[in-house]
Point group: C2
Chain length 390, copies 2
């Protein structure tokens, strides 16, 4: 009997791993450096950063005999979502006071985006146009049938009042897009979906990093945020996220949350608890919360220090051009300002075994005392090698 | 400015919580008992059961300074999927030897089913008919557009050779369905999706519980299993699951896994690690694995003991009818054999505050020394109250 496979028509999917990381891994040169790690922070020793308060809490939880390991409800750990919403908006924000913000505990920020996207597909069927800014997650909406329209995205801003009715904006890094709004747009039912993956790691100040949300609250917008809390605590492997919902009033909020719960039930039923338990224990204890905030601040200061050093070393090497943009940018991931057209990036990859993306946006925590000289000297060489080409 | 909510058309979804549990919670009677908890086992003290080996391992992991908390790959923790596949099929099974079984580490068995369903929706578009046996998960496929056909499901079997081409069978409890197959059906491209939520907790013997898989392997079937490992270790709150793929050869397997990884990336990107880490540490250590197996066995023996006691107490009370079916059934969840038509179930719920579903399938671990007398006396009353009605 010859048997026909039911999988006969299934082709091999392209590797998910970016080709840059793949080439890096295949490179046998001992000097090779990868500067494009996403969504994680490295210590000066090249290890994944963990907030100092996390290991203590992990141990305390493992030793706590009073905990039980029952299923979480479908919408997750309530104390966790409550603590996270206060962190995101500030305790006294009007959406909290007016009881019109809520959250569903999800499997990381990707799970949160997936959940939000499924909701929009069902309940915002008329939204055919999506504008995606500084976020990879928005692609999911395109795969679900929406059309990406880049027409309203200008280098320094987005004009909301030109957006069509019922359009959706997915916004990864608010700093990258200055949303200008000279006319009221609320009657256009524009929907915003913020992707907030590392509150506090842009400026080192939690409130400052998400202060922009207040603007949209005050303008009467309703929106979703897919929020990750894994990264800011250094619990990368637990996938702790929230889908945040801001609605105009409590009644609408409850309707949206109830529909989200139905979707969550099919997605994973109950979210995993460990990461949320660690984070909630920290956020609900003022002393631990303070220690965590200090550790975040320390991380951000260290990032700024690395950037300063890179800039200073390039100055001492006499590298042509201004390098102020390096320290002008917030956060761990910033543009180095190299020129792909003049093959400066390619020079670094091919000749120096330093791997970075074409747009030269790198993770500065990948630079440390051991590799900074090699990296800055290589940048200098790359720039000199293309001098005069502009 | 009046603002129109973008959520105006979103109605309140019906509560997910079953109405039975809801009524139970609202019942203020101190005698109330809930016998319908799903997917968890209670100890004789009414607490969620945890395998004795889990707390030790939890502590050991929290104290291990060598662990890092980096993201898992999209397909999850490799040592975890490998150990789980060996557990499911046995180390020397031909699908393992021939390298044509693989797994994707998922967020619980619901996550595994969601992932498998998404795959089938894309790659088995022609499968319009689904037969769902003893599984709640199959409903997801109906929501995705497939039609449920109960025509081939008979009380004691399913006739695979009568199934239409390209149909899908979702099978929750293999004991409930005797799949008979007198003619070869492989050329019909019938696809099986097993939902295995508690290997070892049916008979107390891990191998025996999943021995039926060997039959389908030997008949040349390809299939998926959505497997939960949370329940058999008592780590209910971590959602540890696997989507298992059996293909006819390694090449086909790799194609399917590669497509599943693409879907996983959008669903949650990286699965959470804690549960998988605990389970892998136990499965990879022969002494701990043995201790775990013993704890499973103890749990199953306890379930059998409860069932024996219930039967014996009903016999002593002189309750009319035979109650052998209670001990004839395997596992924690079994039919009590009460009659919904004669309102025996309703009698228990309304008059006795004992909550059980209409089909009288209860979780026997909810019965313990404190409530067994009240429960059996109430069953006796319920049966007597409807005597003569048949």
């Amino acid at each position: 009997m010859t048997t026909l496979s039911v999988f006969l028509d299934v082709p091999l999917a392209q590797k998910l791993e970016g080709s840059l990381l793949k080439t890096y891994k295949q490179d046998s040169c001992p000097k090779k450096i990868f500067l494009a790690f996403r969504g994680r922070y490295l210590t000066s020793k090249g290890q994944p950063w963990v907030s100092s308060v996390v290991p203590k809490m992990r141990l305390q939880i493992a030793q706590d005999p009073s905990l039980n390991y029952e299923y979480l409800p479908v919408n997750g750990m309530r104390s966790f979502t409550e603590a996270s919403l206060k962190l995101l908006f500030g305790k006294h924000n009007q959406v909290i006071v007016e009881n019109r913000v809520g959250g569903v505990h999800t499997v990381g920020d990707n799970g949160a985006f997936q959940l939000g996207a499924q909701f929009l597909k069902i309940w915002r069927k008329d939204s055919q146009t999506v504008f995606i800014m500084s976020s990879k997650k928005g692609e999911l909406l395109c795969k679900m049938g929406m059309t990406e329209d880049p027409s309203l995205l200008f280098p320094n801003g987005v004009y909301l009042q030109q957006a069509p009715h019922d359009s959706i904006f997915v916004i990864g890094n608010i700093c990258d897009c200055n949303l200008t709004q000279s006319h009221p747009t609320s009657n256009k039912r524009i929907f915003l979906f913020f992707d907030i993956s590392s509150q506090g790691l842009s400026t080192g100040d939690l409130e400052k990093d998400t202060g922009f949300l207040q603007y949209f609250v005050s303008q009467g917008f309703e929106f979703f945020c897919s929020q990750s809390l894994s990264k800011t605590f250094g619990i990368y492997d637990e996938g702790v996220g929230i889908l945040v919902v801001v609605a105009l009033n409590n009644e609408l909020l409850l309707c949206v949350l109830s529909q989200l719960m139905k979707l969550t039930q099919a997605l994973w039923l109950n979210p995993p608890i460990t990461g949320a338990r660690i984070i909630t224990s920290i956020l609900c204890n003022p002393a631990l919360q303070e220690e965590w905030k200090q550790s975040l601040k320390g991380l951000v200061e260290n990032i700024m220090l690395i950037k300063e050093k890179v800039k200073e070393k390039l100055r001492l090497l006499g590298t042509p051009g201004s390098w102020d943009h390096i320290t002008d940018q917030n956060g761990s991931h910033s543009y180095l300002g190299l020129n792909s057209k003049f093959q400066q990036v390619e020079y670094l990859v091919r000749k120096k075994h330093i791997y970075l993306p074409k747009n030269s946006r790198i993770n500065f925590t990948c630079i440390n005392a051991h590799n900074i000289d090699y990296i800055t000297q290589s940048i200098n060489e790359a720039v000199l090698s293309t001098k005069g080409l502009d």
